[in-house]
């Protein structure tokens, strides 16, 4: 019972971690911000979760910005031209 009330007021860890992800994409509503803040003050696991989730975000971004592999553009052009001719006939 107490747990249920606490969850309503301060969010469950499930909900809090979801808001942490949401926050990285859009601005949270005022209520959501307050709830998340209160939750993190009491919950070490979710505070850690947020810190690590941010590290992962940076890692993902870095990973995506890696240099592109060199491909054979001439080969690609040839292939496209071939397919274009095929689709015509």
């Amino acid at each position: 019972m107490i747990k249920q009330i606490m969850n309503k007021l301060f969010l469950s860890c499930l909900k809090a971690s979801e808001l942490i992800e949401k926050k990285m994409h859009v601005k949270l509503s005022f209520t959501e911000q307050m709830q998340l803040k209160a939750h993190k003050m009491m919950c070490e696991a979710c505070t850690t979760y947020e810190k690590q989730s941010l590290i992962l975000e940076k890692g993902i971004e870095q990973h995506l910005n890696q240099k592109k592999e060199a491909i054979d553009l001439e080969q690609l052009k040839k292939q496209i031209t071939m397919n274009l001719n095929k689709s015509k006939s």
Partner: protein
Amino acid sequence: METTINLSLWVETYTSDLYSWAFHKVSDSELAKDLVQDTFLVAAEKAESFKGESSPKTWLFSILNHKIVDHYRKKVNQPLALENQALSDFFEADGGWQESRKPKDWKEVDDEHLLDDNEFQKVLKKCMDALPDKWNTAVKLKYLTEKNGDEICQELDITPSNFWQIVHRAKLQLRDCVEKNWLNN
């Protein structure tokens, strides 16, 4: 006849730019090649509708961009059977962390340090590849589309709450995988 001449010229002129853009958006060279090919096939089909109001380049890029959005829309809207089971793997029925899945403190290193660590990068890559396709796409979308959450949802036809939930599950799994594989090294 005229369009044929144009097209082969366009292939010669624009393939390189189209490919660079496609790769930037999907970060997969095979996929990027396919998208560029498809772009020209569509261009061939719709050649009559090109009225020369915009430059060929603009026209081809708009086709390519449609192809890219289509690709992501398909991925994100794929049904995924595991989905419901996944949250109960991480949380108790009351919404608290499962003891075994509770985020643990990682080694005492700052972020920058961690991200420069080759081993960590390797683990992260491995764990990203291990995610179901749809989740993998969801966590990358922000960087690939350079759009905010609302715009992503609009473009891909998914409800925002659904999108956070996908990202949430993906990140839970990713974090857990990184922790297990990296800390145990």
